[in-house]
Symmetry: C2
Amino acid sequence: MPKEASSFINECNGLVHLSVTGVVGHAQMNKTVALIDKAAGLLWLAMLDDCEKIRPSNVLSRKIVKKSMSTFSFTIEAECSETWARAGVVTTPHGAIPTPIFMPVGTQATVKSVSPEELRAAGAAIILANTYHLMLRPGSGLIHEFGGLHNFMHWDGPILTDSGGFQVFSLGHLRKLSEEGAAFKSHLDGSPHLLTPESVMKIEYELGSDIVLPLDICAPYPSTAKEAQVAMERTHRWAERALETKPQYNPQQTLFGIVQGAFEPELRQESARFIGGLPFPGLSIGGLSVGEPKGMMWDLLRVTTPELPREKPRHLLGVGSPEDLVIGVGLGMDMFDCVLPTRVARHGGLFTRDGRISIKGARYRSMHDPVEDGCDCYTCRNYSAAYVHHLARTEEQLYYRLGSIHNIRFMLRLAAELRASIIAHTYPAFRDTFLERYVPASEQTREAQREKWKAARQQKV
Amino acid sequence: MPKEASSFINECNGLVHLSVTGVVGHAQMNKTVALIDKAAGLLWLAMLDDCEKIRPSNVLSRKIVKKSMSTFSFTIEAECSETWARAGVVTTPHGAIPTPIFMPVGTQATVKSVSPEELRAAGAAIILANTYHLMLRPGSGLIHEFGGLHNFMHWDGPILTDSGGFQVFSLGHLRKLSEEGAAFKSHLDGSPHLLTPESVMKIEYELGSDIVLPLDICAPYPSTAKEAQVAMERTHRWAERALETKPQYNPQQTLFGIVQGAFEPELRQESARFIGGLPFPGLSIGGLSVGEPKGMMWDLLRVTTPELPREKPRHLLGVGSPEDLVIGVGLGMDMFDCVLPTRVARHGGLFTRDGRISIKGARYRSMHDPVEDGCDCYTCRNYSAAYVHHLARTEEQLYYRLGSIHNIRFMLRLAAELRASIIAHTYPAFRDTFLERYVPASEQTREAQREKWKAARQQKV
């Protein structure tokens, strides 16, 4: 091994992030070092003792961004005395996340119509990507060749990947469930695939996300108590299998546990105790917001949260709308993700403090004001509502971007305001004031949307 | 009139651009002053002698950006001794344009999928917008209320608007031509409209572009010599009517003349002499690249250019591709516009020095290099070809943006390189080297595209 490379490597302990112009790679130093040969377009995982491929010229051009064994942590900075709301910080290899936080969803390694720089400018601290979609296209192996999702999609902040389970279960007739895992046919080309708790760990390792989720079973709404129990118990066994498999992959990735239990309060409590007791550094609450009434979801959270360990961050999977964020925080949730803000934006629905407006409406045709007065997003700072209306009506692509940026910024500003209110011990008043003013979409509107999206999903997943 | 407003107004000579936070207005000071009342969302055109509506608080918050009667000029900085290529600068109220230049097309007050900031970053110095589309939606009156296109679309650089004639003529059975003008039915709602040389001047005044074009007749390919002559002669009469009408509108807008003559060399020469002899500060060559063979277009330019006055900038309407730019410059053209770079990008066609590639091709699936090695565009600086390929294959909206930015930057870098080569007296060698390496799309490919786009246009114009 060349001397310069050797001394470089000796400086590092634990995991090293190496940055080359435009490319960032990871490696665990005790075993391997990742070398990205930009000229050859290759990612090398070279054993330390057999490191002839390390060229000093490459190594010296790199910068050590971080060193440590596991950078994941969660600290609680403030707790509400009247509710279960808390403000904290989740630390990951790609940066710190102030909580409560909303995570924009980048299903196919892109948050639809928005660039990474725009996400940053909108205040995004972490994004979510979908394992199901990425394993099929372009494939997790290919993403691994590119040094993981961060490099591949040019997003250097934290990423959480789901397990693919939710998408597989919504495939219906295309999948078959067993104790081993979930077999399914690709919605793209019909090719057969098998997701197991073990294979999902490998796929998410290849994706390189900061927070990974284990394969779970999301029971449909409605489910019988028996179906709910069977699904929950298998989810628990799969959680243990995921924990057993995880150590063979990158320790810098943090595995969250998933609490299930469908719509049965006792099962939800049992799952919270079981999953909460396993050595997961964080917890996701799964299987909610899948068609049940909103009130039922909140009731289930009310019995679940007290069973969760205080010191682990809590992620409410697939939730939600602005009002969901405000209510969910008071029920002890720290992290939220949902396609809703970007999806409704694409259909013309934009968030304001007074509720969701339809920018295609005739009243915006000649409005000089921005979409929301006082909003600090790129869209509102630079364009009139009339222009956004014009773009939406003419179905111009720039509309989808401007609408998505506005809604993402709305969610992230709301999360920041929630956090500030918790720290200032004014969360209950903030929540009440927000909910008094904000008119949520009606159950009817939401039902109509769900039907439309379901129909679209049957074709495309 | 309040004293502060009066002294503010007295400082200004000729035309004033007033900038309020996020809003820019124009007014000719000798007659009127434009006041934008942001709070009320109104544009006031107040006579100087009857100026009670001017509130000092508004006026004092404004900044004088420019003052003058007419800021349009064209200076030639270098000319090629072997060809007709020249390098120059066109000056407009919204900035200077180095020529030769390529103008991205923003049909509906947006260059599809690209933001104004991204256009600037890609080197855009002027963009083109389509009068036909904008008069129908959102309407030129509405755009006028917003202080013109610049304010409306958040682009503070120069804008050229066409006359709407080309779109009207391509409507076919939906329009009726007379000496008065062109009557047509909107492709959106069937509503009847009449474009005359006079009404087009008013519409373009309302749009507020820097360079405006007069109504002309674009003869289809093929046309008989008689049809070509009739169309050209009417275009000439309409040019004179436009010149008569123009002075009643904003003198800061510059009216170019349009040379026609279809595919008849003698008519092209006659039109060049006639239009070139009228007091137009610049000239557009219309009616080319409408389906005739490329060779025919170049032959027609070869006989046209010598008849054009040297001192006026020359705009080749609706052209073209990278190779068109390189060849057209040598035939004396200064300005080019075309939807091609953005349209082919949306279909997966990206420009490189070696020709157009299809990014959807399997060979890009795992390519670590950018789309074009050494390209300085946002896309190539930040993403691998594999990622762009992935976005294109999954039809993600970010693809359309990344592809469009690449092609726009390619065209603008090419224009800058052409300009530098003219100044360095190496244009002929630059042209030959470029054309030797660049493989243009085959006539067959272009024909297939034309058919596809024509079919799409029949539905959408």
